[in-house]
Symmetry: C2
Subunit: 514 residues, 2 copies
Amino acid sequence: MNGAECLLRTLLANQVKVCLMNPGTSEMQFVAALDRVPEMRGVLGLFEGVCSGAADGYARISGKPAATLLHLGPGLGNALANLHNARKARSPVVNLVGEHSTGHRVHDAPLTADIEAFARPVSGWVRTLESSAAMGEAASAAVAASWGPPGRVATLIVPADFSWSEAGDPGCPAARPSRCLPAGERVREIARLLCSGQPVGLLLGGGALQLRGLRAAQRLSAATGVRVFADRHAARMTRGVGIPAVERIPYFPEAAQALLAGFERLVLVETRPPVSFFGYPGVRSSLTPVGCAFYVLASEEQDGAAALEWLAQELGAPAAVAADPPRPALPRGEPLTAAAVGRTAGALLPEGAIVSDESVSSNAEIWPHLAGAAPHEFLPVAGGAIGQGLPVALGAALACPGCKVVALEADGSAMYTPQSLWTMAREQLDVTTVILANRRYRILDIEMRRTGAGTMGPRAGQMIDLTHPEPDWIKLAEGFGVPAARATTADEFTRAFEAAMREPGPHLIEAVLG
Amino acid sequence: MNGAECLLRTLLANQVKVCLMNPGTSEMQFVAALDRVPEMRGVLGLFEGVCSGAADGYARISGKPAATLLHLGPGLGNALANLHNARKARSPVVNLVGEHSTGHRVHDAPLTADIEAFARPVSGWVRTLESSAAMGEAASAAVAASWGPPGRVATLIVPADFSWSEAGDPGCPAARPSRCLPAGERVREIARLLCSGQPVGLLLGGGALQLRGLRAAQRLSAATGVRVFADRHAARMTRGVGIPAVERIPYFPEAAQALLAGFERLVLVETRPPVSFFGYPGVRSSLTPVGCAFYVLASEEQDGAAALEWLAQELGAPAAVAADPPRPALPRGEPLTAAAVGRTAGALLPEGAIVSDESVSSNAEIWPHLAGAAPHEFLPVAGGAIGQGLPVALGAALACPGCKVVALEADGSAMYTPQSLWTMAREQLDVTTVILANRRYRILDIEMRRTGAGTMGPRAGQMIDLTHPEPDWIKLAEGFGVPAARATTADEFTRAFEAAMREPGPHLIEAVLG
């Protein structure tokens, strides 16, 4: 079989079953091979950032890598922002990039670029294939590299002639490495710390923010009084009624520092010492008190949930139950605000829903109301590169057929990868996109003041304004093939959201915020 | 004044008057400074690839750099594909990228990335600013670096604290370097070659494809019989009635090799030995005969037009006139084909129009009919990264108020940077976008066969198909604020195109090809 078929079969042998692609001439062999390897699901994106963001979303929900297939250096370039997010989310991604054939590469043709240089800043592993005979081994190595732990972007660059040449048998499946536990001495040290009577914080990230880790943390909190916090930018967090609640670190450093004041000791689980998203004049970047001591219960490579369970067992902490917050009441007869969107979503999200959040300045108003929603998975901004929300929703829907996916999307952010809507329509994915339309890069109004840039003059204001013209999200969605509705009151929004929750398939609701 | 104001004032002192921006928190000071430096025109793009592609188009038409303003590593990532094109077009671009403040950068916050690593593959010059006091000098150095010659992308990375701190006076303007002439011995050697009676080809690129160079080449051709060819991927080519015609190198290597067969000697003017766009099994990448000798009349750094004039003078070649092709007849009562689009455009383009071409598989049918159009500037694909056509048209319109700009855009390619339409609407730019809607990545049907990938199976076909769903370009354009019309016959297209040529401002015509 040729190299392209060998690669697809090697991916399948490694349980990589979805390939998000935007192919060109140098990837034609992969496209052709889809008919010989029908178990591989090829999903077309009209823009590469859709593919890379979807691979991130797929990994966050399935825990497994999807493959991307990108066209040369510029195709990879278009994928980089969402690969940055995947890197920060520690999502495993098998990132395949076609390259000119080896004979052609030396000629500096128009599309020739330094693909490895593009790939390195976002990849934990980069390799340019050396021969067609190495295809199977290299593809398995790429999958293995993507597993980590922690998960990472593994970029395999494939010269076209190695795709069209004979490549022999597929590679052997790579063994999935298991995550280690911390040393017993470390667990006992932290157990003693929690019993010391000093105020201690417990900061969870990574896999520790799913049910098992949250339950163990709840036992610890009930038994010792330790305060449990969540890394705001962890890839995934389970939340809702019946799920132990944790306190999320606020976005702005002053609020975060106020929350963490008094915690001179912080236990870290699959995360690092918390820092501010941006730096500001005269504000510390570190969110913990000066001189705070950090205790790593589980590093990003280790199994945080199992470590928390061990710690709970060490302390003899019994199972704990906390009072659930009430399910929010639907807003009625109100103007449409981000809070109203949050209440409606909190009231109507079905159990097992997935929320992809890129609501930016609206998030603070929405977030509290989802605490009382049915249990759901919350996928926040991980790397901060805008244009993540829609592709991550797309990938989550691919990973979990039968799950209702809701993308909470700021209107500015939605403009970076709106082509995601087309793939949602083509694949008939069960994604409801809510556009939080305040017609502005609202967060920048706040950041303008915070960075000391002074008052917003009229010319500055134009650079933050999304009216003149006002994008029409109904037309944009329909132009991409997704049915859409506009809501200007809370009741209209509730009706549209209710309908979208009832009817599978892609929907878009433009929530015009008052 | 603070660093941001110092930078803008230094750019202005260097005649850089337009800044294409998609700012975030780390660039707020630049946004605020727009009100203190009103001579700087800030133009907002909703996606960074719009900004970088527009800077390329601006440079191709004005010959001067525009500035971009991008948000951290991921913002730069989104701009890379069109910066790749700018690099290949040798367009001067002052590429400004905000960075976390120096105190914050060390904390590995979510948006932290290796910005220099992102920048290097597309930049001829990269510098991370070392202090606010260095702002003026660094900004002038960036402009100077962008000039080249040849023009290049100069990336200046600006930590946020250097924007908000005191920076002193603006930098001194950089002197614009002039392009050199070749050595006299070289000119005389090539003059002897042209008189030798051997078949010689003359391949023009860069600035040699504008009026002065074309006229000199025409004199040489008339006097010596030298065949004059055009680099297909040069940034800009003047064309139409009254402009000396040259033969463009075909896209596919077999046709190009057939055209150049027999030319064992090729004189190069601001270009390099021609190579195929892609490599194919069993096909040579070089387009010239094996053993072809190359004679560099002017390198990419030198002044090709002046060198051609010198050569013509050396040979005593008199002014020459060639018969102009007729203006094409408007198609009537015909189905809408790419050729019909070409005839209508050829018949109706006003003098001085600018054509941004990303028509891909439709180009071969359109191209011949523009030969008889009124004199115009043709901006082809330079680096091959898809998503160039609309932003380049946008930038060209910014560079040349009063010029009619026409973007000939394949429907697949238009999907990479459709956000360009919004900026065209906001700035009310005189750009008519023609979407050549064949609902397919048509070029890949051809490339699939050419790369030996075999017949197109149904699953492969899905990856090249743009129906299911069919994008609705009328709704997309209107969603971005651009009035739009759909044409399904040649007559409908002509009516819509005529109206767009008559009425200034942005228009989109979806040409549904039969």
